[in-house]
């Protein structure tokens, strides 16, 4: 089987990382994946998106799989899906974000199958969809002492961390407020913006961190894949304080590195809490308590780390790709 996957590729972007890992896993199981590169940045027009559609080698693929997130299509989703529809091929869409009724309807009408990542998204997406979780790659971390030395941090300091793209809905203010109330701890922030080195928001958060956590907060900037083992190796606890999220590749990356994760109490993260993969909080005081507890209670931290590893094992890319293949095969059997 050979599929065409429409997705950003080769750029700093969570959906690229997702598509790359999924494509690798599918390829390992004998499915060839032609990437149809969707421009990730810049001013998009309907003509540019039509050029993307025109690139699909229709005769050479069995189906088209679209990685969808609203921002990627700049409100031109209707024209784009109209173009896909005319190709008369089975269409699968993975919705990385859901809730825009107008766009969701277009996706539902044109797609033969819609994939969402969790129950929260399935509920919010008002049409028929299948849940296939976001995959994970079990990864090792660097020895803590070594990582702390590399980062120039005193290994005696209990370290709370965050690693991922930084934007307003990630809720880093909550994390900074919380760590500022735990005198003995330090904060390590890895991440940046997709293109430019920074944004006004990042500068504001950076200023806040230095004001509230003088000499206690270290910023790493964007952390490339090969430096993740060092960043996670240094962190005792990883916090994802997102205000809103449909899924988080960054959070899953922390779980993949076997870290004890505290995440905000929102739908997609609560589901993982029920599976024992992480623990959740609501509000700054709750986060302070959880951090203190986890820093103190090594056994509890170890059990969360164990839960993270079990979740990652159950949702490895290999297993996720099998679910995709099953869905593709079922779809193609109907199509024939």
């Amino acid at each position: 089987m050979r599929i065409a996957m429409v997705t950003p590729h080769g750029v700093k972007c969570g959906i690229y990382t997702y598509s790359r890992d999924l494509s690798k896993a599918l390829a390992e199981k004998g499915i060839e994946v032609c990437i149809i590169r969707l421009p990730r940045f810049g001013r998009k027009t309907s003509q540019i998106l039509q050029q993307v559609v025109n690139q699909i080698p229709v005769q050479d693929v069995d189906l088209i799989h679209v990685q969808h997130e609203y921002g990627l299509y700049a409100g031109l989703d209707g024209g784009f899906y109209g173009g896909l529809n005319r190709l008369e091929k089975p269409i699968v869409s993975t919705c990385h974000a859901v809730g825009n009724l107008t766009v969701d309807r277009v996706i539902d009408e044109v797609s033969d199958k819609v994939i969402v990542h969790n129950k929260f998204c399935k509920k919010r997406f008002s049409f028929k969809s299948e849940i296939i979780p976001h995959g994970c790659t079990p990864s090792k971390t660097m020895d803590r002492e070594k990582a702390m030395k590399k980062l120039g941090i005193d290994p005696r300091i209990p370290l709370v961390g965050y690693c991922g793209f930084i934007s307003e809905y990630k809720g880093l203010e909550t994390l900074i407020d919380a760590v500022s109330k735990i005198q003995e701890s330090g904060l390590l922030i890895g991440g940046g913006w997709h293109t430019e080195l920074g944004t006004t928001y990042i500068a504001r958060i950076n200023e806040k961190s230095h004001r509230l956590l003088p000499h206690r907060c270290k910023w790493l900037g964007f952390v490339p894949d090969d430096e993740l083992p060092m960043a996670y190796g240094a962190m005792d606890i990883v916090v994802y304080p997102s205000i809103y999220s449909t899924e988080s590749g960054a959070l899953l990356m922390a779980l993949s590195h076997g870290k004890a994760v505290i995440a905000s109490r929102i739908g997609p993260f609560k589901e993982k809490e029920k599976l024992g993969a992480l623990t959740t909080f609501r509000g700054v005081n709750s986060l302070v308590k959880k951090i203190r507890l986890l820093l103190k209670d090594e056994e509890l931290r170890a059990s969360l780390e164990e839960g993270a590893r079990a979740y990652v094992e159950a949702n490895s890319w290999s297993k996720v790709s099998e679910q995709h293949i099953e869905l593709y095969e079922e779809l193609l059997s109907h199509f024939e």
């Binding site: 390829a27 032609c34 001013r43 540019i48």
Partner: protein, 413 residues
């Protein structure tokens, strides 16, 4: 691949025109489809073919940004490569296309006016190792592809022909000729180079010599003419030449010759066939001690003709000058709107370099120089740098994930 090169007009005589012509025609030979969008409103008519390259209209914007995306889509291009300092763009780098700027960097630290225009790029080309390092310092990955020189055209002529060249340019056969080939721009620091040459004459009063200034000694733009770009304007050199008492020691051509340019090679016409090859072959030394060079085609062209160059020890110039000499520079000035540093070549250093080259075995040096130029021959640049780069782009633009690795689906299917 289907490529568009956007920059100075392909039929022009500027360094960027030469880069576009040499690159385009060789890429066509490699089996690529190539189109060109000329900047500077230079093509107001319809599209036409030039040496197999499809040339699109220029649009109304000085840098053709108003028509670039339309041509890109009409041509179904895979990439749009720009050959111009990236700071001239104010919209192109924000378009959702595969934008591949040649980052021509002639200063350090590299201006934010340049780096800000590279973050969305599909790929960035650095034309010097110096530029590549500067980009890396700003966390911008780039691919090194130097500018090249057509070594089939630029070559040393026989002694007999060299003498004919000198005669044609009204230079004496037995004098030490120092040439400067440069546009009249503040950045080129021509007045300072004249000071360096003057010091050489002062220190070597016995040397019979001329400075052949292949530049427009008047500014191209009038004083009251509004301009766009980075304010790197030309300067009036005549008052300074006369004030320094260098009116006899310096020769310069009619400004029309420089403005319109002369061909690269005009055949075996040594009577009035002025061309660049004959010009370099009439020099003993090529001097271009400017404030900063992103690359420096005159260094390569002179080297290919067996003529050594001297340059300021700053930015991309030392790489291109090869076996020539570098002149130390400790102080800098800021001359343009973005506020970048241009270094001042040491005046005694220039005189010293000219003296060294006057006293050296220039024939022996010429062999090293032609070897150096050969490394930058366009054929070598295309095979060693451009081809692997395009192959990498092909796989990144059209990736096919298979059990045996990632390939280009466009090639595989």
């Amino acid at each position: 691949m289907r490529l568009i090169l956007q920059g100075d007009r392909i039929w022009g005589k500027s360094a960027y025109s030469k880069v576009i012509f040499n690159l385009s025609t060789r890429l066509i030979k490699e089996g690529h489809k190539v189109a060109h969008i000329p900047m500077g409103r230079s093509l107001r008519g319809g599209k036409f073919s030039h040496s197999g390259v499809l040339v699109f209209s220029s649009g109304l914007d000085s840098f053709a940004q108003d028509v670039a995306v339309e041509h890109y889509l009409n041509y179904n291009a895979d990439m749009l490569i720009t050959v111009k300092e990236p700071w001239v763009f104010n919209t192109l780098h924000k378009e959702a296309i595969n934008f591949v700027p040649m980052a021509i960097i002639d200063h350090a630290p590299v201006s934010a006016s340049i780096t800000a225009r590279l973050h969305n790029a599909f790929k960035v080309i650095a034309v010097s190792r110096f530029g590549q390092k500067e980009l890396k310092r700003n966390k911008i990955e780039s691919t090194y592809i130097p500018h090249g020189c057509d070594t089939d055209i630029y070559r040393p002529l026989s002694e007999e022909k060299k003498l004919a060249c000198r005669k044609m340019f009204a230079l004496d056969p037995d004098e030490f000729v120092v040439g400067i080939v440069a546009m009249n721009r503040g950045r080129k620091l021509i007045s300072r180079q004249i000071l360096g040459y003057k010091r050489f004459l002062d220190l070597n009063p016995d040397v019979k010599s001329h400075l052949f200034l292949w530049t427009d000694v008047q500014p191209i733009r009038k004083y009251d003419e509004p301009s766009v770009g980075i304010s790197d304007v030309g300067v009036s050199l005549l008052p300074e030449i006369m004030a320094l008492g260098m009116g006899e020691a310096i020769k310069w051509p009619d400004r029309k010759n420089v403005a319109e340019g002369i061909p690269e090679w005009d055949g075996d016409n040594f009577i009035d066939g002025w061309d660049m090859v004959k010009l370099y072959n009439s020099f003993d030394v090529n001097m271009l001690c400017s404030g900063g060079e992103g690359a420096g085609l005159p260094y390569l062209e002179a080297a290919a003709c067996g003529v050594a160059s001297i340059c300021t020890d700053y930015a991309g110039a030392p790489e291109y000058v090869g076996p020539g000499l570098t002149v130390p520079a400790k102080e800098y000035v800021i001359l343009n709107a973005p506020g970048t540093r241009y270094y001042l070549p040491d005046i005694d250093g220039m005189a010293e370099a000219l003296t060294k080259l006057y006293n050296t075995d220039r024939e022996k040096l010429a062999r090293k120089l032609t070897k150096h130029a050969e490394r930058y021959s366009w054929d070598n640049v295309v095979s060693s740098y451009v081809k692997p780069f395009l192959e990498e782009c092909e796989t990144e633009l059209f990736p096919l994930y298979t059990s045996t690795g990632v390939k280009s689906w466009r090639k595989e299917l």
